[in-house]
Symmetry: C2
Subunit: 631 residues, 2 copies
């Protein structure tokens, strides 16, 4: 049955088209084997028709949608189990399974796709030359919830939230549970948003996250449980052990909820609390998932929301993104509940341009490899390896022929040995057997880390705007050429974080050829954390070099706080022709910081810069083996 | 490194064998391509070696184990996602994936396999002529927990449990959480066990289950969530909505826990409370899973425990079980946490003999088909169908060529139309598209049920002992020849339940040729429920025939309560040469019941029976259209 909007649309279309087009009546017009067209007669639930045609049209190269709004429900979707890096392992439905396909363009022609529940709008696996363009992705009910702070009482330790009917909830055992279509979440991870700035609130770390849990509760005989092998106490299933609820809530009137016993400062009236449920459970429905593919392109794609990342790409070669928009729809303050874009184990080139990333609850782009850990030597050519993080389960480190580097971070951030991958056998989420072409050398030992030296991309990120999000702008961990050009940053944490990290996220890779040029950084790191706008950091106390050939040229920094740079473990650093200005947007949080903090670094060059800020000192260099001057 | 026990075993073996056997030193002896032998040098964690050899020996036909105790850990096991009927959809590890194999015998030679955590010991898929024999399956830590009732206070509504160190726990937000290897569970489903009788406690329904939850908690805007399609409000994810905890617990001293606010009678001192966590979450690790196979045999297999069923068989032809033992190990009162054996959509013959089923938390054997529900007609040959129960997700109703019957239970329990299955397309757990060879007739409508007429087995169950378990002895739903011969029953609910059921479990099939002969039924239905020892029942109020050709001959009933038979919707019933005796084992719960209750049935014949009981009346026939005499 057609509804009124559809009938109007068809009538309007009829006026303009009836004389020169055949009239589509069944919702699907197949012009030729290579083209599929969908119109809005399927809009009430487009899933079954789109799914059937996509699955049964192996030769199709172009898929068009008539402009309009299409709903996609999971009930008749193709269910897939996906292990996705930096997400939960998920069971989700999709209407667009692009599996083992090539040369397909999906052109929304401006259409909006509204998803319902646990779905991944686009799944691209083992495919080549896939392009998505001119379409908008949103969810009918988001995977996060929002509450307006309307009162607080610092003495009693309570704050009150007004919650709109867009975010249905119930109070269960004195805890706030937001109920969605086919989903529910607790307060879990939370942060404050300032509507007046369209951004995360200044100094939110003093107020959030809501301190939902605490250690507590009697335990009996738990020490009798002994695991034979390493277990991840941070993973769901183990991390709740020994923890109890700290906060409790009461409903004052329908839609008005009081939160008791929060342990930080009470959230200020007028701010919006964004809540997304427990870590490890709240990344379940990214908007676009690409894995094991080549030549993937996004153009003019808007992602208003996702229960996870906007785009997550793994083990893929060449990704091109232009005019992507990640931004909340309607009254919502949050867009995607995790990173706008994220790339793991990719190669070739990642090119992101002319895009807007705002309101997402994590980084705009995070690009890295994956460390795996040696468990044991099985025979002369085989190693048992372990995935370190629970959101890397099942990740394949590479393809046959890839060079795998063995790293012992206590000795060096660079590999001490390289071998050629022959085969990966994924026995379970945590454990794989890797076979190498060469014999294993004697000195590879349990605890050593592996990284894929061939699976790092060159990167260009240019003319993008990154603002109003939680966390970083860019997180860059690749030794290939990286160029960050002419972008704008207004981020809650570091604008650009360049890490080597092995203890928690197991995200491999370090910068060895990084150019940051022509960008504007405005009042970044306003979270309340004491960090540089651009920050090079390792998570070990090692003194050896992690980063090389870093150039930061011709950028403008406009900051309320003195510190611009944190430079650790860098060999070869040029900071040239940058302008640093003072901003009174926020009160200074760390006025005693220098502009530049340096540690364990050498060959640093600061030249031709213009300083208009208020710092009391320019450079603090912990290892005073070099005389560095800021000019 | 060998431990002391292994060294002793090897030395002992050496004494007897060194002169005429080659000495196995690597844990695995491959005598020939067709034989694999494992010895106890791999016993500390047998998973990696067993898995590698099983997977990489496609021609093997015999797998032997040296007698001894072998531990199997999940960490290096093959992880599989399994949708298993009447279980959770599970991710589990296994060391024995028998996938697409044939002619394999695994002979434990008396070995004991101890599993750790979420594993399925044996997974048999799409295989032919597989036999398991002479082995024992147990878990190091069980998936259930037990507490001895040491005190209660009817006035305050509390009872106290003493919990041994075998069942580690913690108290989290005032709730009791039992912590296991890689798993935890709440009190959830619970029942009382009487150690003095090695059986479920008499009249446990008055005391259990522990009333853990209640309706409650404020809700806001939940009515704005509207599902487009049918949803299952009993499924995990939806059923918690609107529910809160009712009970709370406190630790009086380590290992001693007081439970407050239980809503039934307080459990008596001296009984053991068996607890297994929430329904829908506690069937995750059956001992043996068989699906889509032919000619499966179990011989001399003991299952001491499983977190689910002992044996679950789906869509398989010919199953033979002899000398199976399902019985708890050590001090435990519970064996498997669900049925001892369970068969769904099987065909050919199921033959169970000389077996003992005791202490399991559900039926000894449940044999049935599966109803699926018509969602919509897609085209002339295709139907969209829905799986009714969340533990039937992904179940394939049959193979190409199978006869599918369409049933409208309000009109008849027998199909009104039959079609030939051509293809099943499983789009997701709940929704499939079925293609039929013939055109769909006009009268098939949404809501009609489908059953596979070809996928019902003939059954023989003989010389078995079923005792001390929760729930039924046998649950029989197949129209083929069923013979229940010379068994002993001491069950908490019905000894034999013959249902037609469509509203909750969607378990299809009805008896049409059932012989129950030479069995002894002793004090069954002591749960506190008002039911017959043998019970024919439909879950609708329909009057038409569901069951035919029922013969109950030469059995002995020894019961504390009058009622022996409940006969509903039967056409053709012979009750002959049975002896009914009185037992004073328990006080009578329903002394006013007749011996036989009859409704909507015809052609009934009671003859040559001997009655030595205390009933006040013999037969109550609701439809007095027949003059039935008990003699």
């Amino acid at each position: 049955m057609l509804n009124k909007i559809q009938i109007t649309a068809i009538l309007l279309w009829g006026i303009f088209s009836v004389n020169f087009l055949s009239f589509p009546v069944l919702g699907i017009t197949t012009d030729a084997k290579k083209t599929l067209s969908f119109d809005t007669s399927i809009a009430e639930d487009a899933t079954p028709e789109v799914l059937e045609k996509v699955m049964n049209s192996p030769e199709v190269e172009e898929i068009f949608f008539e402009p309009g709004t299409y709903h996609f429900y999971p009930d008749k979707g193709l269910e897939m189990f996906c292990r996705i890096s930096n997400h939960n392992d998920v069971f989700v439905a999709t209407a667009f399974p692009l599996l083992d396909r090539k040369n397909i363009t999906i052109d929304g022609q401006g259409a909006t796709f509204i998803f319902h529940g646990k779905m991944i709008p686009f799944i691209v696996e083992n495919s080549k030359n896939i392009q998505l363009k001119n379409l908008t992705i949103d969810w009918y009910m988001p995977f996060h919830s929002e509450g307006l702070i309307v009162a607080n009482d610092e003495e009693k330790g309570t704050f009150d939230m007004q919650i709109s009917t867009d975010f249905p909830y119930e109070i269960r055992d004195n805890q706030l549970i937001f109920v969605k279509e086919y989903y529910e979440h607790t307060i879990g991870q939370s942060i404050l948003y300032d509507r007046s700035r369209k951004a995360i609130m200044f100094d939110t770390e003093s107020y959030t996250p809501v301190t939902t849990s605490k250690k507590g509760g009697e335990q009996y005989s738990l020490d009798s449980i002994r695991y034979r092998y390493k277990v991840d106490e941070r993973a769901p299933g183990l991390r709740d052990i020994g923890m109890e609820s700290r906060i409790w809530v009461e409903q004052l009137e329908p839609g008005l909820v009081r939160v008791h016993n929060h342990g930080k400062k009470m959230p200020p009236v007028g701010m919006v609390m964004a809540m997304k449920g427990e870590q490890g459970e709240n990344r379940l429905a990214p908007a676009i998932r690409v894995v094991d593919s080549k030549d993937f392109q996004l153009s003019q794609v808007t992602v208003h929301h996702a229960g996870g990342m906007g785009l997550i790409v793994e083990n893929t070669e060449n990704i091109r993104i232009d005019h992507m928009v990640v931004s909340p729809s309607g009254d919502r303050v949050v867009s995607t509940t995790a990173d706008a874009t994220h790339f793991v184990g990719c190669r070739g080139e990642i090119h992101i341009s002319e895009s807007l990333f705002e309101g997402q609850l994590d980084d705009a782009a995070n690009i890295h490899g994956t460390y795996q850990e040696v468990v044991e030597r099985i025979d002369a050519h085989r190693l048992g390896v372990r995935m370190g993080h629970y959101q890397q389960q099942g990740f394949k480190i590479g393809r046959p022929g890839d060079k795998i580097g063995f790293v012992r971070l206590s000795e060096s951030f660079f590999p001490f040995h390289e071998l050629t991958l022959q085969d990966t056998e994924v026995l379970n989420g945590r454990y794989q057997i890797l076979t190498f072409r060469e014999s294993l050398p004697e000195n590879i030992a349990a605890g050593d880390l592996l990284e894929n030296i061939d699976a790092y991309p060159a990167v260009i990120i240019e003319n993008c705007k990154i603002q109003g999000n939680r966390a970083r702008g860019l997180l860059l961990s690749t030794p290939r050429s990286v160029k960050v050009l002419n972008n704008y940053f207004h981020t809650e944490m570091e604008a650009i974080l360049v890490p080597v990290e092995s203890g928690h996220w197991f995200e491999a890779g370090s910068a060895r050829d990084l150019l940051i040029e022509g960008n504007t950084f405005e009042n970044c790191v306003h979270s309340g954390q004491n960090r540089g706008v651009i920050r090079f950091i390792t998570d070990d106390d090692e003194e050896h070099t992690a980063f090389e050939k870093i150039r930061i040229i011709g950028n403008t920094f406009r900051q309320f706080d003195p510190m611009i740079l944190e430079v650790n473990n860098v060999d070869g650093f040029l900071f040239k022709a940058n302008t640093i200005e003072y901003s009174d947007a926020f009160p200074s949080l760390f006025p005693d910081n220098p502009v530049v903090k340096i540690n364990a670094s050498k060959d640093l060059n600061f030249t031709d810069n213009t300083y208009k800020g208020k710092a009391k000192k320019m450079i603090v260099n912990t290892n005073q083996n070099q005389n560095i001057k800021f000019d």
